[in-house]
Structure formats: structure tokens, C-alpha cells
Amino acid sequence: MNPLPRFFTFAAPSRFYWLAGLLLPWLYLLAGALAAAGLYIGFFLAPTDATQGDAYRIIFIHVPVAWMSMVLYLAMAGWAALGWAFNARMASMLARAIAPTGAMFTFLALWTGAFWGKPTWGTWWVWDARLTSELILLFLYLGYMALVEAIDDVRRADLAGALLAVVGAVNVPIIYFSVRWWNTLHQGASISMTAAPKMVSTMLTSMLLMTLACWAYAFAVVFARARAIVLEREQSSEWVRALARPLSKVKL
């Protein structure tokens, strides 16, 4: 009588809502614990760098955040494409839930990069290939969010967003290489971007822990946002109304 859950079981918004609600506290807990451990190792146990002093320690935030910014764009484009191809509502909602988190990580990567650049290179910003393409990635996120916000019809917003995300994902390597070649041609400030020193194992541990913390945080925030989107879009369905009913009684 109780069939095994199928592969698409949690593609139903009501079941996703339930599962995400179940996972949320654990994900927040996991993110907090991993971040605390990673920051402790990074700031208290990892040795001071010979050339950069203590300024290098921002690497424990900067690198995981930069990784997340790229991974999340691919995840967003992937979910959006799935939602487009299979007409899966939940996939489209996930894509929209990922975008703000991805944009935040991209912004943080730029911000922490500037904080790292000032003490080590003596400047907040250089038009380096990696920095420039990260900036363009931020524009791609902003374009996606602006587009889906501008379209009132939910279905059209999902599809148009999916198309834009896929076109953007195809373009990202082209943009990256064009910026890289542009940069090598200009050869302006001779600042070496290969600043990452040979890593001690404590540094690596801290960075890995921080990466996992970022993953857990991204999952938690995306799930929380997706739950809100589910409620908004399914507000006329019976199960959402049923959710709202006991609350209104309590208030009375």
C-alpha cells in the first residue's frame, strides 16, 4: 500500500514543500557548524603566510564563494532548462530561487576579492580576466532576475528566463576566453594572479570546510526561497489553503 518513492516524487510542489521544510533546520545547522569549524581553523590554526601576512586569510571566504557563484549559475541554467524541456514546474521554481543566491555569491566574490587585492596588490580592482568575467557573470545574474521579474505571466517568465540562462551558459566560456585574450594583449599592470601559495593542509581543510558550509547555506536559502515561491504560486490549491487554516484559527 505504501509504494517506494519514485524518481520524480519530489517534483510535486506539495511534496517538495514538505521535504524542504523537513531539511531546512538541519541545513542551517550544518552550514553554521561547518562555517564555525572552517573559520576557526582558517583564522586560528592555519599559519601566517610568509609573503602576504594575515591578509591572505580572506581566501577562506573568497575562493569558496567564487566557486559557488559559478556552480550556481550552471545549476540555475540546468534547472531552468529542465523546467523548459519537461514542463516541470518545480524545476522552474528552483531556478528562480537559485538566482538571487548566485548573484549574492558573485557580489561577495568581487567584494572579498577587492579586500584581498588592496593589501596584496595595492589596488581594489584590476581589469584582470578573472575579475572581469566575474563582473560579467554578475550582470548575467542581474539580467536573468530583471527579466523574470519584468514578466507578469508566470509561465512566460519561466520560459524566457530559461532561454536567457541557457544562452548565457553557452556564452560564459566565450566571454571568459575573450576577456582572457584581451587581458594578455593589453598587458597593463604586471600583477600576478597566481597569488595562491603552496597550501598547508590546515589551509586546505579550512577551505574545504568553508566550501561545504557555502553549499549547505546555498541549499538552505534556496529551499527556503523555493518554499515561498511554491506557496505564492499554489495559493489557490487545496493543500496550501489547508496550511493556512489552522493559523487563522490560532489568531482568532
Binding site: I136, F139, L140, L142, G143, A146, L147, A150, I151, R156, L159, A160, L163, L164, V166, V167, G168, V170, N171, I174, I175, S178, V179, W181, W182, L185
Partner: protein, 220 residues
């Protein structure tokens, strides 16, 4: 006559009845570019150095100006819907639209660009390279612009949104287009840049019309 040429002829004829509309992007192009000497200063050395970048950025912006009307008019009077329902290929439709857009905005920019080159004190060879880079690059702008116009069809703030969507995708064109001229000016062969521009043009000719047709199906 093939529907592709039919559509092309129609768009060009419609534009020729309003010649001033077609001239506006060119006027913007010249005006915007001539602001730079006023802002940066009239030193010939500086002007020569920034000329390729300035001309390319202004070309990029003026190509974006007329995008809102590319599909907008046909969408408003319902003829776009009929074109999509007609059974002819939507990919060819978008290709014809992009080509019409290029003929009406890209080609005039190409013709005016040498004049700007002279204003900025460029030599003959860099001017030739500038024109060649514009010849290869502006069709890509029209193709991506058409995609942006199709996605944002009928939206309230579509005109600004197109800029936000299309400009990041057009950055490689800017880099190689302006880079070709800059390379020539600094004594390096611009052939690599031209090859890359041509490769980008071929890639976008293959891919962008398909995406634009999909966008039209979503939007209409």
C-alpha cells in the same frame, strides 16, 4: 519570391517611408562619439589611442537604440502572430528581421565610421581595419539584439531591459572588434582578431536565430 526576401523587402520599405527613424541611430553614433574629445581633451595622441574603443562602444549602443521597434510594431498590430502561424520557418523569419535591422542600422554605421576615424586623427590603415571589424561585428550585434527584442517583447520596461540582457553577451564582439584596430595601431597583425570575429559571426548565425525563434514562440 522566397518569403525570406519578401519579409526583408517589406521591412526595408517600411523603414524607407520613415527615413528619419532610420537616421536617428546614425545621428546618435556621431554625436556620442564626438562627445569623447570634448570630455577627454583634444590631444591627438590620446584621441588616436581611444578611437577604436570609442567608435566600437558607440556602435554597440546605437545598435541597441532601434531594437524595441524591431518586433514591437509587428507584435502590436498582430502581424507577427500571423507570420508565426503562416507555416514558414520562424528561424528564417528572425534571420530576415536581423538582416533588415543590420541593413538599416549596422550598414549606415559602417559608412559613417571612416568619418569618425578622420575626426579622431586615425591613419588610413587603422580606418580600414575599423571598417572591416565593424563589417564582421555589427551583424552579431543585430542578431543578439533581435534575441533580446524577442525575449522582452511587449514588456513595460523592455527598452532598458534589452540593454541589460544583450550588452553582457556582446562583450566579446567589442573586445575583438576594438582589439583588431588597437593591435594594428601597436604594430601587431590584426588577423587573429578578424578570424575570431568571423568565427563569432558564424557561431551566432547558426545559434542565435534558433534561440530567437524559440523566444518568439514563448513571447507571442
Amino acid at each position: 519570391m522566397h518569403p525570406f526576401f519578401h519579409l526583408l523587402q517589406r521591412d526595408v520599405r517600411l523603414a524607407s517611408r520613415r527615413p528619419l527613424d532610420a537616421l536617428l541611430p546614425v545621428a546618435f553614433f556621431v554625436l556620442a562619439a564626438s562627445l569623447f574629445p570634448l570630455g577627454v581633451g583634444p590631444e591627438p595622441q590620446t584621441l588616436q589611442q581611444i578611437a577604436p574603443g570609442v567608435v566600437w562602444v558607440c556602435a554597440l549602443l546605437s545598435a541597441m537604440l532601434s531594437l524595441a521597434t524591431l518586433y514591437g510594431g509587428d507584435y502590436a498590430d498582430g502581424s507577427l502572430e500571423q507570420m508565426l502561424l503562416s507555416g514558414h520557418s520562424a528561424v528564417l523569419l528572425t534571420l530576415a528581421k536581423a538582416l533588415a535591422h543590420w541593413l538599416l542600422t549596422g550598414l549606415p554605421l559602417l559608412l559613417v565610421a571612416p568619418l569618425l576615424g578622420v575626426l579622431f586623427g586615425m591613419d588610413a590603415d587603422p580606418i580600414k581595419a575599423l571598417c572591416l571589424s565593424l563589417l564582421l561585428g555589427t551583424p552579431i550585434l543585430s542578431l543578439f539584439g533581435g534575441l533580446g527584442a524577442a525575449i522582452t517583447l511587449g514588456l513595460r520596461n523592455g527598452a532598458v531591459l534589452i540593454l541589460l540582457l544583450v550588452l553582457p553577451l556582446c562583450m566579446p564582439v567589442l573586445i575583438f572588434g576594438a582589439g583588431a584596430v588597437a593591435a594594428l595601431q601597436s604594430g601587431i597583425s590584426p588577423a587573429g582578431h578578424f578570424s575570431l570575429l568571423a568565427a563569432l559571426l558564424l557561431l551566432s548565425l547558426l545559434g542565435v536565430p534558433v534561440a530567437t525563434a524559440a523566444a518568439l514562440r514563448i513571447s507571442v
